[in-house]
Protein backbone atom coordinates (compact mmCIF):
# COMPACT_ATOMS: atom_id res chain seq x y z
CA UNK A 1 0.00 0.00 0.00
CA UNK A 2 1.27 3.46 -0.82
CA UNK A 3 2.49 5.32 2.24
CA UNK A 4 1.60 8.68 0.69
CA UNK A 5 -2.04 7.56 0.88
CA UNK A 6 -1.75 6.55 4.54
CA UNK A 7 0.25 9.47 5.88
CA UNK A 8 -2.64 12.01 5.77
CA UNK A 9 -4.78 9.71 7.94
CA UNK A 10 -2.07 9.51 10.60
CA UNK A 11 -1.69 13.27 10.61
CA UNK A 12 -5.46 13.84 10.65
CA UNK A 13 -6.05 11.49 13.58
CA UNK A 14 -3.34 13.20 15.57
CA UNK A 15 -4.66 16.67 14.70
CA UNK A 16 -8.31 15.89 15.42
CA UNK A 17 -7.61 14.03 18.67
CA UNK A 18 -5.34 16.83 19.85
CA UNK A 19 -7.93 19.44 18.96
CA UNK A 20 -10.87 17.67 20.55
CA UNK A 21 -9.34 15.99 23.56
CA UNK A 22 -6.47 18.37 24.24
CA UNK A 23 -4.17 15.35 24.41
CA UNK A 24 -1.70 13.75 22.04
CA UNK A 25 -1.91 10.38 20.33
CA UNK A 26 1.30 8.47 19.70
CA UNK A 27 1.71 5.57 17.28
CA UNK A 28 2.34 2.43 19.33
CA UNK A 29 2.69 0.01 16.42
CA UNK A 30 2.00 -0.60 12.75
CA UNK A 31 0.99 -4.05 11.44
CA UNK A 32 -0.42 -5.60 8.29
CA UNK A 33 -3.58 -7.71 8.44
CA UNK A 34 -5.00 -10.04 5.83
CA UNK A 35 -7.45 -12.02 7.94
CA UNK A 36 -11.04 -11.12 8.76
CA UNK A 37 -11.48 -7.95 10.75
CA UNK A 38 -11.99 -8.23 14.49
CA UNK A 39 -13.36 -5.27 16.36
CA UNK A 40 -11.45 -4.08 19.39
CA UNK A 41 -14.23 -1.90 20.74
CA UNK A 42 -16.58 0.62 19.14
CA UNK A 43 -15.81 1.03 15.47
CA UNK A 44 -17.00 3.17 12.58
CA UNK A 45 -16.37 2.42 8.92
CA UNK A 46 -16.03 4.89 6.07
CA UNK A 47 -15.91 3.72 2.46
CA UNK A 48 -14.81 5.61 -0.63
CA UNK A 49 -14.88 5.13 -4.37
CA UNK A 50 -13.11 6.67 -7.30
CA UNK A 51 -9.44 6.98 -8.09
CA UNK A 52 -8.76 5.61 -4.62
CA UNK A 53 -11.11 2.89 -3.40
CA UNK A 54 -11.41 1.10 -0.12
CA UNK A 55 -12.46 1.56 3.44
CA UNK A 56 -11.13 2.78 6.72
CA UNK A 57 -12.18 1.58 10.14
CA UNK A 58 -11.68 3.75 13.19
CA UNK A 59 -11.87 1.42 16.15
CA UNK A 60 -11.47 2.44 19.76
CA UNK A 61 -11.52 0.72 23.11
CA UNK A 62 -14.78 1.44 25.00
CA UNK A 63 -12.96 3.58 27.56
CA UNK A 64 -11.58 5.84 24.83
CA UNK A 65 -14.96 6.07 23.10
CA UNK A 66 -16.64 7.16 26.33
CA UNK A 67 -13.88 9.65 27.07
CA UNK A 68 -14.09 11.15 23.58
CA UNK A 69 -17.90 11.32 23.71
CA UNK A 70 -17.54 13.15 27.01
CA UNK A 71 -15.03 15.59 25.55
CA UNK A 72 -17.20 16.21 22.52
CA UNK A 73 -20.42 16.53 24.53
CA UNK A 74 -18.80 18.75 27.13
CA UNK A 75 -20.24 16.57 29.90
CA UNK A 76 -19.90 13.10 31.35
CA UNK A 77 -21.54 10.48 29.12
CA UNK A 78 -23.00 7.15 30.23
CA UNK A 79 -21.10 4.27 28.51
CA UNK A 80 -24.46 2.79 27.44
CA UNK A 81 -25.63 6.05 25.91
CA UNK A 82 -26.18 6.03 22.12
CA UNK A 83 -24.20 9.27 22.13
CA UNK A 84 -21.03 7.19 22.45
CA UNK A 85 -21.59 5.48 19.07
CA UNK A 86 -22.53 8.82 17.55
CA UNK A 87 -19.31 10.32 18.87
CA UNK A 88 -17.24 7.52 17.32
CA UNK A 89 -18.92 8.13 13.94
CA UNK A 90 -18.41 11.86 14.19
CA UNK A 91 -14.76 11.44 15.12
CA UNK A 92 -14.28 9.07 12.16
CA UNK A 93 -16.00 11.62 9.94
CA UNK A 94 -13.61 14.36 11.04
CA UNK A 95 -10.43 12.29 10.82
CA UNK A 96 -11.24 10.81 7.45
CA UNK A 97 -12.66 14.05 6.09
CA UNK A 98 -9.50 15.93 7.00
CA UNK A 99 -7.28 13.27 5.42
CA UNK A 100 -9.41 13.06 2.29
CA UNK A 101 -9.17 16.84 1.97
CA UNK A 102 -5.37 16.61 1.90
CA UNK A 103 -5.42 13.75 -0.62
CA UNK A 104 -7.88 15.54 -2.85
CA UNK A 105 -5.82 18.71 -2.81
CA UNK A 106 -2.88 16.56 -3.97
CA UNK A 107 -4.89 15.45 -7.00
CA UNK A 108 -6.52 12.19 -5.83
CA UNK A 109 -10.22 12.31 -6.54
CA UNK A 110 -12.80 10.09 -4.92
CA UNK A 111 -16.19 10.15 -3.27
CA UNK A 112 -16.54 9.54 0.45
CA UNK A 113 -19.64 7.93 1.95
CA UNK A 114 -20.99 8.83 5.41
CA UNK A 115 -19.54 6.86 8.35
CA UNK A 116 -21.50 3.97 9.79
CA UNK A 117 -21.12 2.02 12.99
CA UNK A 118 -19.39 -1.24 12.04
CA UNK A 119 -21.68 -4.24 12.47
CA UNK A 120 -20.52 -7.87 12.68
CA UNK A 121 -21.70 -8.46 9.11
CA UNK A 122 -19.73 -5.47 7.84
CA UNK A 123 -16.82 -6.67 9.95
CA UNK A 124 -16.66 -9.92 8.00
CA UNK A 125 -16.99 -8.07 4.70
CA UNK A 126 -14.36 -5.54 5.72
CA UNK A 127 -11.77 -8.28 6.11
CA UNK A 128 -12.43 -9.99 2.79
CA UNK A 129 -9.84 -9.83 0.02
CA UNK A 130 -8.15 -6.78 1.38
CA UNK A 131 -4.77 -6.33 2.93
CA UNK A 132 -5.03 -3.70 5.60
CA UNK A 133 -2.52 -1.49 7.35
CA UNK A 134 -3.35 -1.23 11.03
CA UNK A 135 -2.04 1.60 13.14
CA UNK A 136 -2.45 1.50 16.89
CA UNK A 137 -2.42 4.86 18.61
CA UNK A 138 -2.06 5.31 22.34
CA UNK A 139 -4.05 8.04 24.02
CA UNK A 140 -4.33 8.83 27.73
CA UNK A 141 -7.70 7.00 27.74
CA UNK A 142 -6.64 3.87 25.84
CA UNK A 143 -5.94 2.59 22.34
CA UNK A 144 -7.38 3.78 19.04
CA UNK A 145 -6.92 1.59 15.95
CA UNK A 146 -6.96 2.90 12.42
CA UNK A 147 -7.44 0.06 9.93
CA UNK A 148 -6.80 1.20 6.36
CA UNK A 149 -7.46 -0.90 3.25
CA UNK A 150 -7.39 0.99 -0.01
CA UNK A 151 -6.18 0.77 -3.57
CA UNK A 152 -5.03 3.39 -5.98
CA UNK A 153 -6.24 3.01 -9.55
CA UNK A 154 -3.71 4.77 -11.76
CA UNK A 155 -5.80 4.15 -14.89
CA UNK A 156 -8.69 6.05 -13.38
CA UNK A 157 -6.22 8.82 -12.70
CA UNK A 158 -5.38 9.09 -16.36
CA UNK A 159 -9.08 9.01 -17.22
CA UNK A 160 -9.89 11.44 -14.44
CA UNK A 161 -11.59 13.97 -16.65
CA UNK A 162 -14.20 11.38 -17.61
CA UNK A 163 -14.80 9.95 -14.15
CA UNK A 164 -17.63 11.48 -12.23
CA UNK A 165 -16.34 11.69 -8.71
CA UNK A 166 -16.52 14.45 -6.19
Amino acid sequence: MRMDLIQPFIGALDTVLSEMTKSTATIADLTMEEEGYRKKGLAAIVTFKGQVEGRIVLDMEPGVAVAIAGYLAGAEVDPADAMVSEAVCELANMVIGNAVTQLNDRGFQFKVFPPQILTQEQCEKAGQSSEATVLRFQTPSGNVHLNIAMHYYARRGRERSTVSVR
Binding site: C89, M94, N98, R166
Partner: protein, 147 residues
Protein backbone atom coordinates in the same frame (compact mmCIF):
# COMPACT_ATOMS: atom_id res chain seq x y z
CA UNK B 1 -18.35 26.32 26.89
CA UNK B 2 -17.01 29.82 26.38
CA UNK B 3 -19.74 32.47 26.16
CA UNK B 4 -19.54 35.02 23.38
CA UNK B 5 -21.00 38.47 23.00
CA UNK B 6 -24.56 37.71 21.94
CA UNK B 7 -25.17 38.07 18.23
CA UNK B 8 -28.61 39.50 17.61
CA UNK B 9 -30.60 40.62 14.58
CA UNK B 10 -30.21 44.31 13.95
CA UNK B 11 -33.84 44.76 12.87
CA UNK B 12 -35.47 43.61 16.14
CA UNK B 13 -32.59 42.70 18.50
CA UNK B 14 -33.94 39.17 18.74
CA UNK B 15 -31.57 36.17 18.84
CA UNK B 16 -30.23 34.98 15.49
CA UNK B 17 -32.19 31.86 14.44
CA UNK B 18 -30.32 28.85 13.04
CA UNK B 19 -31.24 25.78 11.03
CA UNK B 20 -28.71 23.02 11.70
CA UNK B 21 -28.35 20.35 9.01
CA UNK B 22 -26.15 17.30 9.64
CA UNK B 23 -26.81 13.56 9.46
CA UNK B 24 -25.00 13.09 12.77
CA UNK B 25 -27.19 13.76 15.80
CA UNK B 26 -24.01 14.30 17.74
CA UNK B 27 -22.76 16.98 15.35
CA UNK B 28 -26.15 18.73 15.48
CA UNK B 29 -26.09 18.78 19.28
CA UNK B 30 -22.54 20.06 19.29
CA UNK B 31 -23.37 22.87 16.84
CA UNK B 32 -26.55 23.69 18.76
CA UNK B 33 -24.50 24.19 21.93
CA UNK B 34 -22.12 26.41 20.01
CA UNK B 35 -24.80 28.67 18.54
CA UNK B 36 -26.46 28.94 21.93
CA UNK B 37 -23.14 30.16 23.32
CA UNK B 38 -23.32 32.88 20.63
CA UNK B 39 -26.72 33.92 22.01
CA UNK B 40 -28.52 32.24 19.10
CA UNK B 41 -31.60 30.09 18.93
CA UNK B 42 -32.03 26.77 17.10
CA UNK B 43 -35.08 27.21 14.84
CA UNK B 44 -34.88 23.70 13.39
CA UNK B 45 -32.75 20.69 12.65
CA UNK B 46 -32.50 18.32 9.69
CA UNK B 47 -30.57 15.11 9.04
CA UNK B 48 -30.52 15.28 5.24
CA UNK B 49 -30.81 17.73 2.37
CA UNK B 50 -34.48 17.03 1.56
CA UNK B 51 -35.60 17.72 5.12
CA UNK B 52 -33.39 20.83 5.16
CA UNK B 53 -35.36 22.31 2.26
CA UNK B 54 -38.74 21.81 3.94
CA UNK B 55 -37.38 22.96 7.31
CA UNK B 56 -35.99 26.11 5.72
CA UNK B 57 -39.40 27.01 4.31
CA UNK B 58 -41.07 26.22 7.63
CA UNK B 59 -38.66 28.01 9.96
CA UNK B 60 -37.19 30.81 7.79
CA UNK B 61 -33.90 30.89 9.74
CA UNK B 62 -31.35 33.70 9.64
CA UNK B 63 -28.46 31.25 9.15
CA UNK B 64 -28.23 27.66 7.93
CA UNK B 65 -25.30 25.49 9.05
CA UNK B 66 -25.13 22.76 6.42
CA UNK B 67 -23.10 19.55 6.31
CA UNK B 68 -22.03 18.25 2.87
CA UNK B 69 -21.94 14.46 2.99
CA UNK B 70 -25.41 13.28 3.94
CA UNK B 71 -27.77 10.50 2.87
CA UNK B 72 -30.64 11.06 0.38
CA UNK B 73 -29.60 14.54 -0.70
CA UNK B 74 -26.18 16.03 -0.09
CA UNK B 75 -25.57 19.50 1.26
CA UNK B 76 -24.45 21.13 -1.97
CA UNK B 77 -27.63 20.19 -3.82
CA UNK B 78 -29.72 21.31 -0.84
CA UNK B 79 -27.96 24.72 -0.87
CA UNK B 80 -28.68 25.13 -4.55
CA UNK B 81 -32.37 24.38 -4.09
CA UNK B 82 -32.74 26.57 -1.00
CA UNK B 83 -31.00 29.53 -2.65
CA UNK B 84 -33.06 29.12 -5.83
CA UNK B 85 -36.25 29.50 -3.79
CA UNK B 86 -34.87 31.94 -1.22
CA UNK B 87 -32.09 34.06 -2.79
CA UNK B 88 -31.40 35.81 0.53
CA UNK B 89 -30.68 32.54 2.35
CA UNK B 90 -27.43 32.62 4.29
CA UNK B 91 -25.90 29.17 4.24
CA UNK B 92 -22.59 28.27 5.88
CA UNK B 93 -21.18 24.88 4.91
CA UNK B 94 -19.80 22.87 7.84
CA UNK B 95 -17.98 19.75 6.75
CA UNK B 96 -14.98 17.61 7.59
CA UNK B 97 -14.31 17.28 3.86
CA UNK B 98 -12.85 20.61 2.86
CA UNK B 99 -11.20 20.18 -0.50
CA UNK B 100 -11.16 22.89 -3.10
CA UNK B 101 -13.70 21.32 -5.47
CA UNK B 102 -16.26 20.96 -2.70
CA UNK B 103 -15.78 24.48 -1.41
CA UNK B 104 -15.99 25.97 -4.88
CA UNK B 105 -19.08 23.94 -5.76
CA UNK B 106 -20.82 25.03 -2.56
CA UNK B 107 -19.95 28.70 -3.09
CA UNK B 108 -21.06 28.53 -6.71
CA UNK B 109 -24.42 27.11 -5.62
CA UNK B 110 -24.95 29.99 -3.23
CA UNK B 111 -23.29 29.12 0.08
CA UNK B 112 -21.83 32.18 1.82
CA UNK B 113 -18.94 30.55 3.66
CA UNK B 114 -17.26 27.28 4.56
CA UNK B 115 -15.89 25.96 7.85
CA UNK B 116 -14.06 22.68 8.29
CA UNK B 117 -14.70 20.24 11.15
CA UNK B 118 -13.64 20.01 13.90
CA UNK B 119 -15.30 23.40 14.28
CA UNK B 120 -13.57 25.91 16.50
CA UNK B 121 -16.21 28.07 18.23
CA UNK B 122 -14.17 31.26 17.78
CA UNK B 123 -13.84 30.65 14.05
CA UNK B 124 -17.53 29.88 13.60
CA UNK B 125 -18.51 32.97 15.59
CA UNK B 126 -16.40 35.22 13.36
CA UNK B 127 -17.80 33.58 10.22
CA UNK B 128 -21.37 34.10 11.39
CA UNK B 129 -20.65 37.75 12.19
CA UNK B 130 -19.18 38.13 8.70
CA UNK B 131 -22.11 36.39 7.01
CA UNK B 132 -24.70 38.41 8.93
CA UNK B 133 -22.82 41.54 7.93
CA UNK B 134 -24.94 44.62 8.65
CA UNK B 135 -27.95 42.55 9.70
CA UNK B 136 -26.31 41.38 12.90
CA UNK B 137 -25.16 43.24 15.99
CA UNK B 138 -23.41 42.12 19.15
CA UNK B 139 -24.43 42.73 22.72
CA UNK B 140 -22.19 42.08 25.73
CA UNK B 141 -22.58 38.79 27.63
CA UNK B 142 -25.36 39.25 30.18
CA UNK B 143 -27.35 41.63 28.00
CA UNK B 144 -29.01 38.86 25.98
CA UNK B 145 -32.62 39.28 24.93
CA UNK B 146 -32.73 42.92 25.93
CA UNK B 147 -34.02 45.47 23.46
Amino acid sequence: MKQFEALTRKKDHQPVRYLIVDDSVFARKSLAKMVESFGGQVAGEAGDGCTAITEYTRTKPDIVLMDITMPQMEGIEAVERIVQEHPDARVVMVSSVGYQDNILAALQKGARHFVQKPVKPDALYEIIRYVLNDDGVTAPVGARGEN
